[in-house]
Amino acid sequence: MKALVEKVLTDYGLLTAFAAVGLTMLFSYWASAKLTRGRLHGSAIAILIGLLLAALAGGKKGLAELPMLSGLGLMGGAMLRDLAIVATAFGVRMEEFAKSGFIGALSLLLGLTLSFFVGGAIAVAFGYRDAVSITTIGAGAATYIVGPVTGTALGASSAVIALSIAAGLVKAMLVMVATPLLAKPIGLDNPRAAMVFGGLMGTNSGVMAGLAATDPKLVPYGAMTATFFTGLGCLLGPSVFFMIARLIF
């Protein structure tokens, strides 16, 4: 009996994921209303539960490592995630994006530059003195994709590449958790601020989960700028930022 149920849940993994996430949402919205009196948004609680369970499960794919919950990987993977993000833009007026286009682009460049410099400075503080390692760790502070792409292009050691991925993951997790808490003090309640936020943070998963937990209406604006971040980072990391690091070290 147990084996039979397990087989159904594993074979129909995507449906298991829908049901499991649905239950999590149900519990989270209940907890939000009853336990926090609406102070912590239901989606923020659901995302926290997701992260917590992923940490407990361990492994590269979090909870999706378990065969029965492998459908979470498909449900939360790039394909369906991007489809849903694009769908959130439905009904948004083009002028909204155009109005904040310049400041959005500026925040994108500033966000990338800051990530590289802050991440690089911390690498230096921890004793790294070669331009390749410093650039790679700085790239990791941009996103956990820019880190390994830059590190591989520059021939960084695998230990340094692993560190850059970890730095990017820390960033993504912190943005997910901190955004709903800090949204009010930083004035993240309008499309323009969301575009600036997406450009500065850049980490796709962090920005998207953070905004979803803050106000789903802001998601398309943050996604619009964040979608350029990783690509531009992969472009600038091994070229411009590496040259700057080599000039200094």
């Binding site: 996430v21 989606s43 940490a55 439905f90 730095a167 993951l169 912190l174 979608t227 990783t230």
Partner: protein
């Protein structure tokens, strides 16, 4: 029919990702630059064009809206399939590199958002 809406949405994303990858390839990197952004612009322009010709009845719209409404659960699934252990295992330096960057960027959000505002008001 809802599938028309979902088909439009899917087509926009496929074209967007292709354009994003092409931009990447032109710049010599194997990465998607702005694919989702291009897809969003295509969807906004495309649905607007169809709406003005009254080719976007509510059932078709529902095929797009469903995916927008299921966004948060999808993000929860994404959070649950993250390499959280990898973030925790990175040690102090990885944590600081990520955390300090996030702190600096959070602090800059109101500065940049307001800078944009001022020029708009003074206009």
């Amino acid at each position: 029919m809802p599938i028309y809406g979902t088909a439009l949405l899917a087509a926009c994303l496929l074209v967007g990702i292709t354009v994003g990858k092409l931009i990447g390839a032109l710049l010599g990197i194997d990465a998607d630059i702005g694919g989702v952004g291009v897809a969003m612009i295509l969807l906004i322009l495309g649905s607007d064009w169809l709406q003005r010709r009254q080719l976007l009845p509510p059932p078709t719209e529902s095929g797009i809206q469903f995916w927008g409404h299921i966004y948060v659960p999808i993000v929860v699934a994404m959070a649950a399939s993250q390499n959280v252990r990898g973030a925790l295992d990175g040690g102090v330096m990885a944590f600081l590199a990520g955390a300090v960057t996030v702190a600096v960027c959070f602090a800059l959000v109101p500065v940049l958002a307001r800078t944009g505002r001022k020029t708009e008001v003074s206009r």
